[in-house]
């Protein structure tokens, strides 16, 4: 598992690339993934500080437990509002890794960015607080 500082670096790198892909209207599938990686790493930065990393399912990647841990420790601990976890769950649900409904297009990614931005702002604000500074 990565530690908090690695998660933070990866989140910032992926978000910078996501914003670049979004602005330059580059490939929407990759832009969507970059947004998800950034948000996931910011959530895991906070969870890592609290020593509450999510696990991964067999032969899978660590998405499922991330929401559970986020709700229990970040929302339950009053660090974030429940709305932030709802927004994250919606990002996971709308992400079509398996190309359900076709290849992502510009209207899709605009809606996805609209969904992601408030959560990104909330996570960035949380991680600027003294408790979450490494």
């Amino acid at each position: 598992m990565a530690d908090a500082s690695v998660h933070r670096r990866k989140a910032e790198l992926c978000w910078a690339l996501a914003e670049r892909f979004y602005t330059e209207k580059r490939h929407e599938f990759l832009c969507m993934n970059l947004m998800m990686y950034a948000v996931g790493h910011w959530i895991e930065t906070a969870l890592a500080v609290l020593e509450k990393h999510p696990s991964a399912p067999p032969r899978g990647v660590p998405h499922g437990d991330r929401e559970t841990q986020m709700r229990k420790h970040l929302v339950g601990g009053k660090w974030l509002e429940g709305e932030a976890a709802d927004r994250y769950a919606e990002m996971v649900a709308r992400r079509h890794t398996f190309a359900e409904g076709g290849i992502q297009d510009r209207p899709f990614i605009e809606r996805y960015m609209e969904l992601a931005r408030p959560l990104v702002s909330q996570l960035q604000a949380l991680l600027r607080t003294p408790q979450f500074q490494g």
Partner: protein, 135 residues
Amino acid sequence: MADLETHHELSRQLLTEMRRAQEDGHWPVVVDAGFYAVFHAMEALNAVECRDAYSFADAVDILERMLAPRYLGEAFVKDYEYLFYFRRGALYGAHFPSAEQLARYIAVSERAYAHAATVLEGQLAHTEKGGPRNA
């Protein structure tokens, strides 16, 4: 979970994006696009026979039990596993890939994609001639 043409087209696009990201020095995009180019080529091959993977565990089960014995072979399975776990470690885990590691990853992505695309074209040509898809 899409039709054959969607997977096939997405696969082609992502291979192009991997090459572009390599030139741009965007390693997370190289890693993501390289893996998914191969993944969607594999899914296109599944779609020829009306199959879909609903998860990564599902995808590797189908690969090992159906695609490898019939079409893709063991060398492809090893390439796919290498790409899957490299992507997981680089994008989700603690690792930052070196230039040498990325170069190898790109070479494996190119090789796996080319193999899957060749097999897919063969299956499509066979189907168009009216033959069974698993002859």
